[in-house]
Amino acid sequence: MKKLQAKNNPLYNFGRENFGILIGLLLLCVILTIFSPVFLSKNNILNVLRQVATNLYIACAMTMVIILGGIDLSVGSTIALSGVVTGGMIAFDGHSLVVAVIAGLLVGVAVGAFNGFLISKTTIPPFIVTLSTMNIARGASYVYTGGQPIRVMSDSFNFIGSGYVGEIPMPIIYLVIIVIISVLIMSKSRLGRHIYAVGGNPTAARFSGINNSRVLFFAYLFSGLMAAIAGVVLASRMFSGQPTAGQGAEMDAIAAVVLGGTSMSGGVGKIGGTVIGALIIGVLSNGLNLLGINSFWQYIVKGVVILIAVYVDFLKKGKKSN
């Protein structure tokens, strides 16, 4: 009864909660530093972060969705759809950049709203709803483009994904903003507490006067928007809206969330964990590239690492509950 106040220092808590994966990430970095002289260079680090960025936009939203006990499989296809719409608005219709980007983002918001509406108002499981929208959005991208990439030769468009402010690449700037917003939502706002409540025990949440539908709707909407941002950034970096963009992106996001210790059954998880999870995936593929390991092997390594990390986490939690 004496030490009623636990340590309230967020950094201390962050370190304690993510101790295992932080060590893993650190170990990975140390090994890569030893074997590859370029790994620790400023350019490489920025490169890793830039690659991690788009995955993390959607992984932040995916964390909320998974804490709510759901899943969003449609984000990969949404990346493609918002990318091709943005590209198309410029290349086909000659709209201004601003209008095109807003249109692209709205496409993502629409997909998210559609998911959110069905999931919050019907009893169709999120897996099925988003599996459907995943196919619809992918198909729509192909239909819209006729299967061909839409090329956009515009420096201002290219700046969105490839530009720099000082020495910092634009995607990293978005990343920092998105992570900060997500962390604020989850740890500081009422909405965040409600997300944990609805994910942990939906019946109890309803009995407590929480509007479960609104919370669910928000999370899928946010997820759609994040996928759209990733889509616009990727299209900009590739000078084109590509209907094949973002394939498998949902799985990378889910992997980052799971690596970060969020429970697939909902109720538990942190954005901070997801950030480390995404960094592990990013550093790993960067390292394997630097070491000249064939990209086919990289998939295998990634799969094994996820399995080991989650198993270690499982062992740790199993011990706690006994």
């Binding site: 009623l4 500081k188 409540a197 109890a204 407590s208």
Partner: protein, 499 residues
């Protein structure tokens, strides 16, 4: 009853990192006896049972079965020695049949490969018949009542040739009628010379069914009594280690201000023409059998369920309560029946669980006033006397009584004028019960109006100013405190019950 000793657990000791769960506990069970294990939550009952069932192994002490010392290292070992545990939460597969559940994992085979469904059903039928149960072997588990499911579990245990049956709070989710059904079958088990270890918090039940009662407290053996030679007071004193002079605390006033009135409420087949009123500063008991519709009335008042016709008045004004949030704004709070399912966020902290309805007081936009959050938590932890090592403790790790106090604390933090408590002391140990009663008394003294749904008649009788009795969706009586007896309540409660 035979004198043969089936099971002896001698001087069992079990230590977990940082906690001495069992210091020195002994238990002797004879063939054909029902031996109740009594103790407050956290006394070590479940640890002892888990050691017997092979889930934990003890650090010291011995287990003797049929006169020989045995080592139980796994659930399989326990089964081999004829020990079966019926857990509080049933572990049947809902969409499989009764027979499939009984023989799950050891289905009889024909041609060495295929499941012999005919033999399986015949064997199951044989077992069911021996208890004269009206259950068909090919019925799906999900179609059975909880009591029937429990019997399937018991039969499954017996089909392993169980000699020692452990029942962990078997009546916690049963109606009175189902309890009778269970007890009838327990008596049959006694005749078959099965030794039964029976865990329950309900004293009145022990009088009916237990032959002996062993009390443990804080991991220590306190004593064993013959049921007929002991009293409730003695048992309670043994359990809590001090005399609870005022188990039920109530100072009755003379309430006259109507705060809530329900008129002619109808909701489908569940509720028919429900009318009653509630005064500020009173406790209105709601008695009735499980399924009588008591919780449903409250869910209508609280805006969770819709109703077809009728009127709800708060302070004389007709209101439409749209949802629980709306109810809360009108000063109503509901502590639901099942804290696990309907109230608690088990993975979250005490603070989180207490303050989830009071977030507006310390979160403004993205600014969290941590000091205020702790202050609110402290206020209700202190008021409810919640025993927790820290406010950050995950609620799932607290005892049942403390969990219940967290839920009540959460709703008190909304400063309700009308507090609805649905089974406020279910699965709560006696010490915590007495504390909850005393808090209820404080609240009504301060003018709060309380509706208390309860299936524990002594609680209803001792705590209520008036008692509304429901049966089959209707109100069958509104009884005043004077001359209230269990028989009177039961008379009204069974009025419309057919069969």
């Amino acid at each position: 009853m035979s004198e043969k000793i089936l099971l002896e657990m001698n001087h069992i000791r079990k230590e977990f990192p940082g906690v001495l769960a069992l210091k020195d506990v002994s238990l002797q069970v004879q063939a054909g006896e029902v031996h109740a294990l009594l103790g407050e939550n956290g006394a070590g009952k479940s640890t002892l049972i888990k050691i017997l069932g092979g889930i934990y192994s003890s650090d010291a002490g011995e287990i003797v079965i049929d006169g020989s010392v045995v080592t139980i290292n796994s659930v399989q070992d326990a089964q081999k020695f004829g020990i079966s545990v019926i857990h509080q939460e049933l572990v049947l597969v809902p969409h499989m049949t009764v027979a499939e559940n009984i023989y799950l994992g050891r289905e009889p085979l024909k041609a060495g490969r295929f499941v012999d469904f005919k033999k399986m059903n015949d064997d199951a039928k044989h077992l069911l018949d021996s208890f004269e149960l009206d259950i068909r072997p090919n019925e799906e588990i999900s179609e059975l009542t909880i009591a029937q499911q429990q019997m399937v579990e018991i039969i499954k245990a017996l089909s392993f040739h169980a000699k020692i049956l452990v029942m962990d709070e078997p009546t916690s989710s049963l109606s009175e009628k189902d309890v009778d059904f269970l007890f009838e079958n327990i008596r049959k088990l006694k005749k078959a010379q099965v030794g039964i270890i029976y865990i329950s918090h309900r004293m009145s039940e022990l009088k009916q069914i237990a032959d002996k009662i062993t009390v443990i407290r804080d991991g220590e053996y306190i004593g064993t009594r013959q049921t007929h030679a002991t009293t409730n007071d003695e048992l309670i004193t043994m359990m809590v280690g001090r005399q609870l002079t005022n188990y039920y605390t109530r100072t009755f006033g003379n309430p006259t201000t109507k705060v809530l009135e329900v008129k002619h409420l109808n909701a489908g087949k569940l509720l028919k023409d429900i009318s009653f009123h509630l005064f500020s500063g009173e406790i209105l008991g709601f008695a009735g059998l499980v399924g009588a519709g008591r919780s449903e009335v409250m869910k209508c008042i609280f805006g969770i369920d819709a109703f077809e016709s009728g009127e709800i008045l708060i302070n004389g004004e007709p209101v439409v309560v749209k949802n629980p949030d709306d109810a809360m704004k009108r000063g109503i709070a509901l502590v639901p029946e099942s804290r696990k399912r309907e109230a608690l966020f088990m993975d979250q902290s005490v603070t989180y669980n207490i303050t989830i309805k009071a977030l507006g007081e310390f979160i403004h936009g993205i600014h969290v006033d941590n000091a205020r959050e702790t202050e609110i938590t402290k206020e209700y932890v202190d008021m409810m006397e919640i025993k927790t090592p820290t406010y950050k403790q995950v609620v799932g790790n607290l005892s049942g009584g403390n969990q219940q106090k967290v839920v009540i604390g959460r709703w008190l933090a909304t400063k309700p004028k009308i507090l609805i408590l649905d089974e406020p002391t279910r699965g709560v140990d006696v010490g915590a019960k007495a504390e909850i009663y005393s808090i209820m008394n404080e609240l009504v003294k301060n003018g709060v109006a309380i509706i208390m749904i309860s299936s524990e008649l002594p609680e209803v009788i001792n705590m209520s100013d008036r008692v509304v009795v429901m049966s089959n969706g209707k109100i069958t009586g509104c009884l005043s405190r004077e001359g209230l007896t269990q028989e009177k309540i039961m008379h009204h409660a069974t009025q419309f019950v057919t069969t």
